[in-house]
Symmetry: C2
Subunit: 708 residues, 2 copies
Amino acid sequence: MARKIESNCDVLIIGAGPAGLMAARTLAEFVGQDPNLKVRIIDKRSTKVFTGQADGLQPRTLECLKNLGMGQIYEAANDMTTINLYNPDENGMIHRTDRFPDTIPGVSRYNQCVLHQGMIERHFLDSIHEVSNGRINVERPILPESIEVDESKADDPDAYPVTVKLRYLAEDEAEPLQFGHKVSNGLFRTTLTTAEDDDAEYRLPEGTEAGLLETVHAKYVIGCDGGRSWVRRNLGLNMVGEQTDYIWGVVDIVPETDFPDVRARCAIHSAESGSVMIIPREDKLVRFYIQMQERADQGGRVDRSQFTPEKIVDSARKIMAPYYLNYSRMDWFTAYHIGQRVADKYSVAERAFIAGDACHTHSPKAGQGMNASMMDTWNLGWKLGMVLTKRAKRSLLKTYESERQPFAQALIDFDHKFSRLFSGKPAKDVLDGSCVSMDEFKEAFIRNGLFTSGTAVDYDESIIVAKTGKNGNKVASHSDLAKNIAVGCRFKSEQVCRHSEGLAMQLGDLLYMNGSFRVLLFAGNAANPAQMDRIERFAAYLDSSESFVSRLTPSDCKRDGLFEVITIHSNTREEIDMQDFPAPALYPPFDYDKIYADCETYHRGHGHAYDKYGIDPKHGAIVVVRPDGYVGMVCDLEDTAELETYFSEFMAVPAKPLGAQAEKDWTFTAKAKAERRKRVLSSSPAQPRASNKASFVHVETVPVGQTV
Amino acid sequence: MARKIESNCDVLIIGAGPAGLMAARTLAEFVGQDPNLKVRIIDKRSTKVFTGQADGLQPRTLECLKNLGMGQIYEAANDMTTINLYNPDENGMIHRTDRFPDTIPGVSRYNQCVLHQGMIERHFLDSIHEVSNGRINVERPILPESIEVDESKADDPDAYPVTVKLRYLAEDEAEPLQFGHKVSNGLFRTTLTTAEDDDAEYRLPEGTEAGLLETVHAKYVIGCDGGRSWVRRNLGLNMVGEQTDYIWGVVDIVPETDFPDVRARCAIHSAESGSVMIIPREDKLVRFYIQMQERADQGGRVDRSQFTPEKIVDSARKIMAPYYLNYSRMDWFTAYHIGQRVADKYSVAERAFIAGDACHTHSPKAGQGMNASMMDTWNLGWKLGMVLTKRAKRSLLKTYESERQPFAQALIDFDHKFSRLFSGKPAKDVLDGSCVSMDEFKEAFIRNGLFTSGTAVDYDESIIVAKTGKNGNKVASHSDLAKNIAVGCRFKSEQVCRHSEGLAMQLGDLLYMNGSFRVLLFAGNAANPAQMDRIERFAAYLDSSESFVSRLTPSDCKRDGLFEVITIHSNTREEIDMQDFPAPALYPPFDYDKIYADCETYHRGHGHAYDKYGIDPKHGAIVVVRPDGYVGMVCDLEDTAELETYFSEFMAVPAKPLGAQAEKDWTFTAKAKAERRKRVLSSSPAQPRASNKASFVHVETVPVGQTV
């Protein structure tokens, strides 16, 4: 008889792939702040890291990783810079017909890049452990056996309405199948499966005994258990969409070839043998996506055993002929066919959620999979954290599905179109209507660059996205004040200068994901006394007992814990001192990191942030950025009522709010401050700066021995 | 009775501070390649990391760390961007009189930055362990008790002429003294000591028994044991120079102040109370160097116990008045007085060396100490590695002293001048000759920015630096071929484009320190058939049995193990394919990382490397870069005799050389290559590139739900 235990937890995450790890990482931030929160993450496999499994990291994903303190991932990855198109000429010989940038220049401070998932997961595991003070660690191998949601208790904040029964496996019960191949492969998790395969995956292996059984009562469950999600099926959520019969092979090899662009991203259409996509990777590896001649049968059934590494490479050789292709090392291979489906619902009563591949399946060639999965729980994690810590109302959770489901549908539509263009036979001329026009393919490739960057996501109006004030939040944004900042889109990073030291910094780097909203005060020309009056009035409001900061921040929280005010003025560092900004609202005593200037720097030029954001450098604006980096609203310095309304829509009023703050802790009196200001103004002006326009300065060397 | 053992090793490093760790790290590269090499590093202290102890990392040091695979150090450090000068006005009130860039813009791809030594040492320990395959680890606490060099055996490559007796301490015998303070401090290692203090440091603590005794027979010993070096004194090497009587206090604090520039580097001269230097650091810390009113007596003796943290901060308050100064945290403090001395000799018979502070002591305020120390062993390490692995002649070792001793003298001269200017009282007007002119101070500060960047070092002509062919190596460089590349200086990194994938890269990042020389072939306009003839002739020479590569590389070494040929052409990636470069010399089969283009990139603009190096983009040049990144010679593509001569001066002829290499391993025949070339040339030209000049691209967002 198996031993049985019972337990409670706030969140149970099922599945420790990209979606599950991102859920755990975002929630870790709240666990680190609240010793009573209990978040668990389980996985049914004993193996941590699979070779091979990889995807591109999109610029937007990299921005988010940076805001989780995992920016070092970018250092290890391989940048993708160039896309080459190869097409057949009139003789059927492939040649390079086009070359254009991968990642639209200027779309982000990061380029699209590639790194194997194992490395990414390792960074996540370390970061989750560290940020949660060691309180969240992936538990494996553990298999879920049943899930039930008591919807009648869904609205009770103290209830544990989800019951999940778990079974602990022995290590050797959870090894992925390798189908007799020596080379690591992903056939065990390929999409070449049927419903029976899916169920078999979650059955206790024959001849093994059940280990420990645990009944978990959870406030929330997130199913991040992949395309064949057990959670999704057991919650009765459905996938809507279709399956193609094209089969693709994938190999990760260190190639030996005379193909000129093997180290750059290539899309190769051959005349008769199908298509290949090349994705260069780290550590000299190159991934090949190779169209196979086989087709799935009507039931979607395919004999997995027929896809051997050599057979897949042979297909590539045919497509890439007459170029020579061999390899010195193969790390991994798999085969799949493309299904394009989206879940119709993302949760049961906003208590049991699904995320990642559990909600959407599509082809991997656009490098969307891991990104879309991580972005799902990047969206859900902070919302759940805010609700669990009673900072936000439960209605916030509805925006997970309303924001992510339309995105997934757009993704699938994109993938549907792109896959068809890529799997189809190239047209010989414009009259060849049954085949794919290479011009159309190229156009789609270029236009979709923005989509695949991950930066184009524009969430609809909702309680947390204040656009027109009509379909969600009651507030209408004053978008004319920041013409290039789109409410609902991610806040794009631009360079500013940290006032205290003159360092060129990315504004995006200040948006560390700790659950706090950022109130970016573009203060305009603060050296103008009239403008400084406006700034001081806004600051006085923030410090008053009426402000959203004073009313909505709990008394046991730091003043910048829920709402961090960051000031970016349009002056030079000589025109004004950071101590001239009103304390404590904008310049909390001895915190030298809250004031930034949009000015020339010595080593990185001028960021021209006001210009790029479309903000008047005299007048300024206020931009509210959500904890996940998306713009919630834009308003003017006088729009304090709008700010109140915006936050009141979804934030909870704490039992004991922080209240007003005075300048009482300042050691400097107003008089001392005025005197200091007079002193500084009377000092000789700083000398004109060296031009930073020229990136190269001719350097005269100093011989050793010569005293300088 | 203590137990006694006896052992042999190739190199024994005494002291695991910055100089010792850099010695171990550079030698680790050779240990990793040669399983018979035995390198040890010992330290007399049990503690790994001291809080506080810190220095700026100069741009040149950061370049070297990058070439040791430790570039991530830069990420954690605090950039120094701005220098502010504060001087008294006619009323004696300090105010900001000047502001200018710290780190001369354009001098390096790195800015000067600050990070605490513990963090740097941790990176070193990890890297040494990894690169040496776990075979080098700091052994501590171990005390040297005697050292002897048998000079008669100095020239025997198989001899172990240095005998060192070691004593193993118990952990608690090696704790640094804290002088009764609760705050960590550096008083135990301050320069406020006498010769008796020095000796006491190396005596077995009273009442303790000797632990294990070991007699080590070493081929080479490096003494990296600091300013009061036991190795130096026991080898009979002398320090020449002088000691000032100014005493300085140092504190690392998180400051609370209304001083406007506390987060930027500042040099503050008060009218009557002395000077302060402010260095902002990581983790909100700021270091203050504070001039004390106390003076050392004639014997250099000072009572260390009088320097309390509060006393030091009080001195700063006087100097910085009327600004308020307090702190929320103090991490560390110390006090020192400035000695400026250089060792007269750096070795005994090039068998027992000294390095780092053991060779030169000076004031810490210019952030030179740790840098100069690491650069000493950066210079010595590869030379010792080359000699030990019999790749180079023993005469190479003489260049350690001939290169580093004049540098140290220049450093001390610089420090002498700078310290005097900084410690002196500011002159009230130009007639006040007894005091320091603030104009002179500013000029020195600006002019010395180049010196303190570490990039100005210009080694004299020697067997490894071929300038005029008169005073060292018999070869004269053809410097007119690369007008802005100074032979003897470090090779400055510029951006190039990796041909295979279009990635913008720093040429300097290719100079990983693995003991190999880089032969940078600036191939010029390779699309011109006449120029390609020149390139092919040079390539044929490299592959022939007469070339230095074939003759000097041992047969058990990879062909690029001692001499790596890297080609940088001046064409676009559309004008020529990387496969068009002669294989195997320039394009080793299936190695896609040897060919670079000086051309526009999609995401990082154009590097204009030829222009910046002053190389004719049609004609080209060859630049030989030493393993440590310094330029050894410049010559033309036909100067194969000069290359032979240059390397023959100091490289050893192996018993069994690698010999010629043929294109035998190529799968492609010349005919196939010609056909391929024809195919590529006949294909339609790639479309014109999007301009990368504009750093900002206006991005139209795509609403969710809209199929793109």
